[in-house]
């Protein structure tokens, strides 16, 4: 490896294409330093810096669009449409998390310490997720996954005086290190098979027929185990409910969308780049999707389809039995991974567009549902479904907004979730995976039952009647999330175009 070493240092000009990520790292460091000077109960400096940094990164990411395919930093990182999409999404998720952590008792309560570091870590995690979405080399793949995992472990155990939080962190660490060990083994097999570490070079080596098929299958399954853990797909989900329940709710909200989306980004880039030979459908360009041809004989779509069905069915069936809303949402997030995997196995541009659109919608509605839990936890001190009894009379608007999120999570019109599911299912049917579409539809029906359990408690179960006032900041962010959930259900063309451009600029499919 070192014999061919060419001494070409990445030039500073590479950083021009890496602005959002650079901003996030600088934000992290500044927020850490600001924490040294923070006084009082609430660390306003780190909070403002982290929030401002995420927003600047967001602005930088938006202004860098369309991100043309460009390999930077020694070909270890690629900035293309896919990376461009995700580096808009992650600072946004980070900013929302930071916003609603500020008024959350679980993070800012009087018994908490290290409040400033918390905001710094959110910025660092956003950076790690951005790199996950643009990693083009096995080294960056592994390192970015580790950075996101490490920050996650810390945040899960943030309430260090709470037994549940500590347990969540410990479980996360143990499952995380095992699965990253398995993934690392898979990566080493892959390197042994191909002698390359860059995704594109790995594909070239595989196309040249330099790899044994059985060994390739084993290597890829191992890698899938590591990434499946990040997105919490069955059977790599065991940590998920306990971690989601034990972690502080703002952190759970972040976990349920951030690392999941980053895991999908990495899965798409890794598997599509290494296993799909380009040009399969490029000849029939135009309206036809640029389908790839899978390298090797393994029936990957079928394998992923089984994974998808098991994931969504398990998530939904177990969610039915939950009474704790955080646990319920944890299982529901597992089910949503199942839906998203349906789009993943289509191997088409339309499938990818559906995934990205759904991830965007899912981020908004799931953050909204979790914010509702946070806001009420601050007032009621609990998150059982029964705690929400009579909420429609106590706080009618808040209950209504939660209703919007629940309808959207189920996938009913006129909400964004409906449009997201529509695109996913349309592509599944277009590609003649009818049985998969039927299973997905049945699953959506099942999910209606448990989402409506929350609705029933809010609207039909009598409870206290005293009006409930939430933190103003929480109400404001709830509105900020509920509005797009409704609006995207009615008018979604700009967002669809945004997603389509991202997929069109994806180096893995476009060639």
């Amino acid at each position: 490896m070192f014999e061919t070493l060419a001494l070409n240092a990445p030039s500073w000009s590479d950083l021009r294409h890496f602005v959002p990520e650079t901003v996030l790292v600088v934000t992290f460091l500044l927020a850490l330093m600001a924490d040294l000077f923070a006084r009082g109960r609430r660390p306003a400096g780190p909070f403002a810096l982290a929030l401002g940094g995420c927003l600047v990164a967001l602005a930088a990411a938006v202004s860098s669009l369309p991100a043309g395919p460009r390999s930077i930093l020694g070909d270890l990182v690629v900035v293309d449409g896919l990376a461009g999409f995700f580096r808009v999404l992650f600072p946004l998720i980070g900013a929302i998390t930071i916003l609603f952590s500020w008024a959350s008792g679980e993070i800012m309560g009087p018994r908490r310490e290290h409040k400033g570091e918390f905001y710094a870590l959110v910025a660092l995690m956003a950076f790690g997720m951005c790199v996950m979405a643009s990693a083009a080399d096995l080294i960056m793949l592994y390192l970015s996954v580790e950075l996101v995992s490490l920050t996650s472990y810390v945040m899960a155990g943030y309430m260090r005086t709470s037994l549940r939080s500590t347990e969540a962190s410990l479980k996360y660490v143990i499952f995380g290190s095992v699965s990253s060990g398995v993934m690392l083994y898979g990566l080493s097999l892959l390197f042994g098979l191909t002698g390359e570490t860059t995704f594109v070079e790995i594909r070239a080596a595989l196309l040249a027929g330099r790899a044994d098929n059985f060994a390739l299958l084993v290597a890829m399954v191992f890698v899938l185990a590591g990434l499946g853990y990040k997105i919490a797909a069955v059977p790599f989900h065991f940590w998920c409910p306990d971690v989601y329940e034990g972690a502080p709710t703002p952190v759970t909200a972040l976990f349920s969308v951030g690392p999941k989306a980053a895991g999908f980004a990495l899965m798409i880039r890794f598997f599509y780049t290494t296993l799909l030979s380009p040009g399969g459908g490029q000849a029939a360009a135009g309206a036809a999707a640029p389908d790839g041809v899978i390298v090797g004989p393994a029936d990957w779509p079928l394998l992923i389809a089984i994974l998808s069905v098991v994931t969504m069915t398990y998530g939904n069936l177990v969610a039915l039995r939950q009474t704790n809303v955080k646990r319920l949402l944890a299982y529901s997030s597992i089910a949503h991974v199942g839906y998203l995997l349906m789009g993943f196995l289509m191997l088409t541009a339309a499938g990818l567009e559906a995934i990205l659109f759904y991830l965007l919608v899912y981020a908004i509605m799931n953050l909204g549902a979790f914010l509702f839990v946070i806001a009420l936890n601050n007032r009621l001190g609990g998150e059982e479904i029964s705690d929400y009894a009579g909420l429609s009379t106590r706080a009618p608007w808040v209950a209504l907004m939660m209703m919007v999120f629940l309808l959207s999570l189920t996938g009913l019109p006129p909400t964004a979730g409906f449009i997201g599911k529509m695109y996913l299912f349309a592509e599944v049917i277009n590609r003649h995976w009818f049985w998969l579409a039927v299973v997905g539809a049945l699953n959506s029906v099942v999910s209606l039952f448990y989402y409506m359990k929350i609705a029933k408690a809010m609207y039909f179960t009598p409870g206290e009647r005293a009006p409930l006032r939430l933190e103003p900041l929480h109400t404001a962010v709830l509105i900020l999330l509920a509005a797009p959930t409704l609006a995207l259900g009615v008018y979604w063309t700009p967002f669809k175009n945004f997603v389509d451009r991202a997929v069109a600029g994806f180096a893995g499919l476009g060639g």
Partner: protein, 183 residues
Amino acid sequence: MSGDLAFYGFAALTVLSAFYVVFSRNIVHAGFSLLFTLFGVAGLYAMLAADFLAATQVIVYIGGVLVLILFTVMMTRIPRRGAGGRGLDRFVPAGVFALLLFALLYKVITGTPWAEKAPVSADPTTARLGASFLTDFVFPFEFVSLILLAAMIGAAILIRDRRPAADDGAGGAAAPTGEEERS
């Protein structure tokens, strides 16, 4: 030939001591046995002409991590002998799974034409490693420093108690650790 002998020696050292780590019921013995496992791996690195990696393995893992593990064992009240029985109900499925995994990996390792590199000369690698850390791989190199920083902050958050105990308010007499919130 002497190379082969050294390889089998290091390999045997690694595997046998790893078995002892797993099967020993005394955690101190297991910790000490880990020393030989890590040393064997360092030997294998050295045989692959990765001299810097081998030295790092010895310094970091044996000198640092292992000593920490042993200190932790000594300073916490973990029962020296493994607590509870290791029942057959857990041993059998785990053993079967491990054997199946081994069979799978064995088939992969022996049945695969690996992309082998020609044997490299055993020149010192340190200079070339240093050069590539600051050129081709400068980004991962800096990235790792962020990971380490995150780990340090994490350790501080999870372990360090910044607040004086008297600050605990009314429940000052209660044990500060292990309290369950909102229960």
